[in-house]
């Protein structure tokens, strides 16, 4: 379990990194936290011409809050470590779903090294960050010698472990629009911090009259990439999320999944679990919203 020889470059800038990527024409990879890349090299599942270390590139690891209200936007540098997301006050207040999800990743060591950009590019279908970014409507900023572009999370994957990037492209930043008012997250793992059997993230807005809209339901671990459950979201729009609404919507989610059978669970079991976990996540969403509402009303009355 020792990696075969490779060349090592330490890039000093994004420009240098993408130039090197271009020169190696697909034979090189960027090294971020190394939490997926190094095991693959050591297990000799991958043989590379070169590693381009981007850990010293300045300016890739910031968390910035911009704008207010509907124009609110949060920008997170690709090299931002999980641990920084966990500890950031900006993330806690502006992207609370992400803050909750990041704590489910691996263990302390993994979270000290692993990065948001690395996780997105790695594209593990069970990973937390791709699901969170999908549900939050994030956009991924990508640079190459040919210029830059932005890819919506919904279009970021061609398949499992397959980010829709060209070989000379590098992710530099992830941009999040204003966070939905309400959210809930539920995941089933075999062990604490393990890759999940399945995960569910839900968000939505609730009017003062108790009607819900803009619901988003994302499912992890049950397809070759995180998937939105669109039919279920549509079913719930304009409802009050009654138990019946929730049950019917949850039942629709099985249309959107294509779960694998692996050591963690069979496809059959995952198929049984998805509607149950969606139902429970939605009930939690509803409960949290009424708790918030109660809190606001109590404050107003005072």
């Amino acid at each position: 379990m020792k990696a075969a020889d490779f060349l090592y470059h330490r890039a000093g800038s994004v420009a240098e990194a993408v130039t090197l990527l271009d020169e190696y024409a697909g034979e090189a990879r960027l090294l971020a936290g190394g939490q997926s890349l190094m095991p693959m090299l050591n297990m000799r599942l991958w043989r590379l011409g070169a590693l381009i270390d981007v850990n010293q590139v300045p300016g890739l690891d910031g968390i910035e809050a911009e704008g207010e209200g509907d124009l609110e936007e949060t920008r997170i540098g690709a090299l931002t470590r999980y641990v920084s997301l966990e500890r950031s006050e900006v993330v806690a207040s502006r992207l609370p779903l992400l803050a909750e999800m990041v704590r489910h990743i691996g263990d302390r060591q993994v979270r000290n090294r692993g990065t948001l950009g690395g996780s997105l590019v790695q594209g593990d279908p069970t990973a937390e960050m791709p699901l969170g970014c999908l549900v939050l409507g994030a956009r991924v900023r990508v640079e190459s010698g040919r210029g830059s572009r932005e890819i919506a999370m919904g279009e970021f994957y061609d398949g499992s472990y397959a980010a829709a990037l060209e070989f000379d492209e590098m992710v530099t930043e992830i941009r999040f629009p204003r966070h939905p008012s309400h959210f809930a997250f539920s995941e089933l793992t075999r062990r604490h911090g393990d890759f999940c059997v399945l995960s569910v993230a839900v968000t939505g807005e609730c009017d003062s009259d108790g009607c819900w809209h803009d619901l988003r339901i994302g499912l992890g671990g049950v397809s070759d990439m995180p998937v939105p459950a669109e039919a279920a979201s549509a079913r719930l729009s304009g409802t009050r999320l009654t138990d019946d609404d929730i049950r019917e919507a949850a039942a629709l989610t099985v249309e959107d999944i294509d779960p694998p059978s692996d050591m963690r669970a069979t496809a059959e079991y995952r198929t049984h679990l998805v509607p149950v976990h969606v139902r429970r996540a939605l009930q939690q969403l509803r409960a949290r919203a009424s708790a918030t509402e109660l809190l606001t009303r109590t404050r107003e009355n005072r």
């Binding site: 379990m1 020792k2 089933l188 911090g193 050591m263 669970a265 079991y269």
Partner: protein, 806 residues
Amino acid sequence: MNEFVEAPAAPKETTRQEESLKHRLIGTSVPRTEDERLLRGDGRFTDDVQFAHQLEMAVGRCPFPHARILSIDVSRALELEGVKHVLTGEQVREQSAPLTVLRPVPGAPQLPYYALAQDKATYEGQPVVSVVAVSRALAEDAIELIEIEYEPLPHVSDAIAALEEGAPLLHPQSLASNLLASNGDRAGEPEARIEAADVVLRSRMRIGRVTPLPMETRGVVAVWRPGARELSIHTSTQVPHLVRKQLAESLRIGEECIRVSASDVGGGFGMKLGVYPEDVLASLHAMALRRPVKWIEDRMEHFRASTHGRESIHDYCLAADAEGRFVAMTNTYTTDIGGWNSPFGSSQLSSVIFTGPYRVADAAVERRVAMTNKTPVGAYRGYGQPEVNFALEVLVDRLARKLGKDPLALRELNMLRPEDLPWTVPSGAVYDSGDYLRTLRMAAEAVDYAAHRASPRVPRPDGRILGIGLSSFVERTGYASARFLANRGSKFGAHESVTLRANRSGTIDLYTGVSSIGQSSETAFAQICAEVLGVDFDAVRVHSGDTASSPLNTGAFASRTLIAAAGALREAALPFRDKTLRLGAWALGIAPEEAVIEGYEVRHRDDADKRVPLSDVFSRAILGQGIPHDETPGLETTAHFEPPSAAFSFGTAAAVVAVDPETGEFSVERFVMVHDCGVAVNPMIVEGQVRGALVQGLGAALGEELRYDAVTGQLLSGSMLDYAVPRAADVPPIELLHTEVPSPVTTFGVRGVGEVGTIPPGAAIANALCDALADYGVEFSALPITPESVWRALQAARESTQGAAA
């Protein structure tokens, strides 16, 4: 929570109790000697051993479960700069003999298991070529350049299927079928009793394949000095003296040329019991190159190259009368031994304790050892006992449900009482002593069993239903005797040995062949030795695991070390103490009877002014100066001790689970273990051993599983990513309770304690789930039990009730 409960008063125990009250060190939680070096990072594991000019070895392994090797071309590997030597099967056959088995299955033929595959390989991961190079990475590069042409052969990975007519044969030259051997034990007339019984339960129970997974994988450093004719082996093993013997056999050189040492061993769990192919390969390379060769098993290799554990299928039959009294029991079980006989052979303990702690006179057991195209199975903590406990204890609860009885009451009814012991089981083994019932009642009380039993199984506000499950067990620890072992074909003895040697600093060097595998033997040995001698604990320094300095012994396994070593320590320490007293008394001018050893000196019993330091007494002995004329110089004793019989530990575990009937998700909210290991030499060590083994037992019960693909025969969970071993955060809260009934068959009344925790978790959890889901009527017949298996059990129960309704 940890509580030592006094043993029940019985006449022969009173003296024991009194004796143990006199003890100064035995029974106290002396902090572990081993901890300081381990916590400071000063441990010396195999990879910490470095030599000048050392080379590294990598092994090329068969990627198929069963394949003929048509050709091997090593030329491109040899051209790579830095590659020093390559071995293939042909050279290995010329230069060495097949690996020997320490514990052959009686009646089994010797299989020609060479260090490298000969014409074919019979498991995924079997070594096929080995390369030595200046670095491990380079050696791995070279392996990739070796061209091996395989012809995949039909394979069989299921032990039951392997025994069926027409199954692909693994070793047609040696065996006409895949049955390596079968043997049985019986007592009374079980068949007739089953025939006449009121209730008969039969079930097939499957215990999954797991890996012991020590933190330190295997490893070896081989150094050959031809001029000295010395092969020095540093290796991660539980049995240095046995590895020496086996290496001598495989390498065809005398044992006198081989020195094996193991300093710190990062866990063994039965898996490091004897020689492996890589030990022979590293030696052959080192001898050919005359340079030190190191091989450290990496984690991916470990999952395929080190012996697995457990996998077995038990066809049990439990027969009872209408009240629930057990009248007969039979168990025909198949153990899956994999592609070759492992160095330690197949487990036999299922046959010894298959009747559990119960009074059943009519019983029969038959073991079948099946060969399959998988990694060999070897010893693993518990070795046959967790397997059979799961099968039997799940059946006991099933019987209780069938009869509408309380599982606790059913156990009470059938359990052996103290006055029934000693009790001989069908294998001829003798349960020595104990109060089994008491542990059952303590466990039940700790989880408030009675109140739970009386309440309905309704979901809590979180939707989960609570259940409680019990599992009682008897565990064989140690070996009956060398005679007993000889009958079963063992190539090792039942004794332990120690050498005590005085040094001029006034302290005592204690030499043992037992390597330090985390079992705390260094601490416990020093406690016993210091106890008998009267010196301070710190005055005894233990040196372990080097065949060049230790007397010949057996090794650290089968929960047997202390059982035998306690006697050896006492036998060595008594003459050592007497001579120290004679020499000390002579120096003081007093009679030996007036002298005592205390701390670091010999002094007059009543006159504190008359004292002489041990450094003085020992120096006199070593120099032969200032000692009585009739004394010989030197102060060194060696003792070998074989216990007259095995001691049986016992206890009961209770699991409290909370299960979600919609998804099958569940958690173990409490796990209570009541356990008796006789006199605890060091209660803290006992607790650590029980907890550690419980975690392994819980892992195997709840998720650990080496699964092979049904079609390709490939290992599906051969990495830390897929193999769900529990980590600290996954371990349920464990509560330990102890009783302390001294064993009458061992020195100081000790019983073994290293393995016991692996035994009861599977059955306790299965029974707790069945209890929680009593209204649904679920059954479990296989380990591990995952949320998915609970969900499937619920589905099956629903289908059968629907079927019944239709």
